[in-house]
């Protein structure tokens, strides 16, 4: 086997290791997962019930109420999906620092791209499972129907958007490396900012103009717009949503990785990796 093939093989095994570790930990924290799932479903219900409340005004037909409820549900589901990706990415460093394993991971011969991408890959898989459960649980509970839904298109778009989310997530994951506590806090701020400008429960056009400008560079804007159109209206994959996601995906991962490397260098120069010995 050539050296390149050998190294590629080793890196793929390393990537598998990251995913495998997260599977182990998810199994060990299974009851927490059930509790969080319950909380997310309850929280989503409180949002989707707004459509029922709006119908009480008498200005909405049953069909419009269903459309509004579905639209809110898509927003809440993608919010939850994004939240998981950001949580996993932001906590890549924070979590390992808490467990005390960070130095062992950073001294291992695993490329940072593979390390962070492995974390992102698990987050996407895990997030998709949870988002699917959330969507159908709430839809069933409220008796919502989406006869024209194009789930395949929504899923494809979400998969494409995930690449951008991982890239942006890598950028935020560096924050706890630079400042252990403040970094994790800033990660939440970044996540909140991205979601609020992306039109989670409302069209982007209702926001002030400066927020609309930020929305243009947020991958969540296009994911939300496209998924909503696919599920509520049965639309296919629109190029208008694909190209911005492609550009952000192509740019976000290398930029995120470059930022992470700068942060890692800073941490190594200043002794910011957790002392576990």
């Amino acid at each position: 086997m050539s050296e390149f093939a050998l190294e590629t093989r080793n890196q793929l095994i390393g990537l598998f290791g990251i995913v495998e570790r997260n599977v182990y930990l998810t199994k060990r924290y299974f009851l927490w997962d059930i509790a969080f799932m319950f909380w997310t479903i309850a929280n989503t219900l409180t949002i989707v019930f707004i459509a029922r409340a709006a119908a009480l005004t008498g200005h909405l037909s049953a069909s419009q109420e269903n459309t509004l409820a579905l639209s809110l549900l898509v927003g809440a589901t993608i919010w939850a999906f994004l939240g998981i990706i950001f949580e996993f990415m932001t906590e890549t460093v924070a979590w390992e620092r808490w467990e005390g394993t960070i130095e062992y991971t950073f001294m291992a011969p695993l490329s940072r791209l593979v390390h962070l991408f492995g974390q992102g890959a698990f987050a996407v898989l895990y997030g998709l499972i949870r988002a699917t459960i959330l969507f159908f649980a709430v839809a069933l509970f409220l008796g919502l129907h989406a006869p024209n839904a194009n789930y395949g298109a929504a899923l494809m778009l979400l998969a494409l958007a995930s690449l951008s989310f991982i890239g942006v997530g890598i950028m935020t994951s560096v924050l706890p490396l630079i400042s252990p506590e403040k970094g994790a806090q800033l990660g939440f701020v970044a996540q909140g900012l991205m979601l609020v400008v992306s039109g989670v429960y409302y069209p982007v056009s209702v926001m002030p103009e400066w927020m609309q400008w930020i929305a243009k560079i947020s991958p969540a804007t296009y994911a939300l717009r496209g998924c909503r159109a696919s599920i509520v209206d049965g639309a296919g994959i629109a190029w208008a949503n694909v190209w911005p996601l492609l550009i952000i995906a192509v740019l976000a991962t290398p930029i995120g990785l470059a930022i992470f490397k700068v942060g890692e260098r800073y941490a190594k120069r200043n002794g910011k990796l957790k002392r576990s010995g």
Binding site: N10, G14, F16, R21, L25, G100, M107, S111, K274, G277
Partner: protein, 291 residues
């Protein structure tokens, strides 16, 4: 060894065994820290953790670096394991520069620290498998290698699936040793591996280190503040004091040089201070830079 990750095996076979295993020249590392006695708003001042440290370790040798808390031992281990970037000088492992050739170094080196750092909810077997993946060991390899290495460190087979948080400190340290050896490092960095262990676990770990030396072609750098441990395990003993390496010699040469009977006396002769008298404050402040 059957547990060798493929590229590590390849790399190991290509190493120049006549080159020093470790070659450190004028290595410097300075952190900035606040003097807690200077008030809340005091500016951070440079604190030399390593001050022009120079030494070499031959392939297959076991060298102990003695020093108290805050003397720079852990900084040295971190620099050699690519976890810190130096401020000057150079460090080479089998001819590979630690900073410039970090990816190669990572395949050659592993480390056991004072704290057995693991995912506490995962079992010993899961933690070891996870660590092994980073070194290119797939599931079919770890299925046999993990039980083998755990058996070698005397870990009870029936406890392999138990969460790390349920294991005693001694057990956890054995798993940490197993993790380091699983990747077949040519340089093993032991940073106070027996600190905090009960006497029996301490002896077991020390016995295992001896066994590793006799059975493997590994070079060992042992950083400790346990003088008896250093004397028992190492070929040569160095003393790191406030970032400066005062000597690195066989123990008998050290005693002869200072005309003393014990290493404690040698420490006193070399530094003018009692070994036990180090202020804990220094250590606490030093640790802040890692917090």
């Amino acid at each position: 060894m059957s547990t060798l990750a493929p590229s590590t095996a390849e790399l190991t076979s290509r190493l120049d065994r006549d080159a020093p295993a470790v070659e450190v020249r004028d290595l410097r590392k300075t952190f900035k820290r606040k003097d807690r006695h200077a008030g809340r708003f005091a500016r951070k001042r440079p604190w030399p953790a390593l001050d022009d440290v120079t030494f070499t370790i031959a392939s297959g040798e076991c060298v102990a670096i003695l020093g108290q808390n805050g003397s720079g031992k852990s900084t040295l281990v971190r620099l050699l394991s690519t976890l810190l970037i130096d401020d000057g000088g150079e460090a080479r492992i089998f001819g590979h520069d630690v900073q410039k050739d970090a990816s190669t170094i990572r395949r050659l080196v592993n480390r056991v620290s004072v704290e057995a750092s693991f995912f506490k909810k995962m079992s010993a077997a899961e933690n070891l498998s996870y660590a092994a993946r980073f070194y290119g060991m797939g599931p079919h390899q770890t299925r046999t290698a993990v039980p083998e290495i755990l058996a070698r460190v005397g870990f009870p087979p029936e406890r392999r699936g138990e969460s790390m948080e349920n294991l005693s400190r001694g057990m956890q340290q054995k798993v940490a040793l197993a993790r380091a050896l699983l990747t077949s490092p040519v340089l093993l960095l032991l940073d106070e591996p027996t600190t905090g262990l009960d006497p029996r676990s301490k002896l077991e770990v020390q016995e295992f280190i001896r066994q590793v030396r006799s059975e493997h072609d590994a070079t060992i750098l042992l950083c400790t503040h346990d003088m008896a441990e250093a004397e028992t395990l190492a070929d040569r003993i160095g003393l790191l004091d406030r970032g400066r390496l005062l000597f690195l010699e066989p123990v008998e040469d050290v005693k002869r040089r200072f005309g003393v009977e014990t290493l404690e006396e040698a420490f006193f002769a070399a530094t003018g201070r009692e070994f036990e008298n180090e202020a804990q404050d220094d250590d606490d402040e030093y640790r802040e830079v890692f917090g």
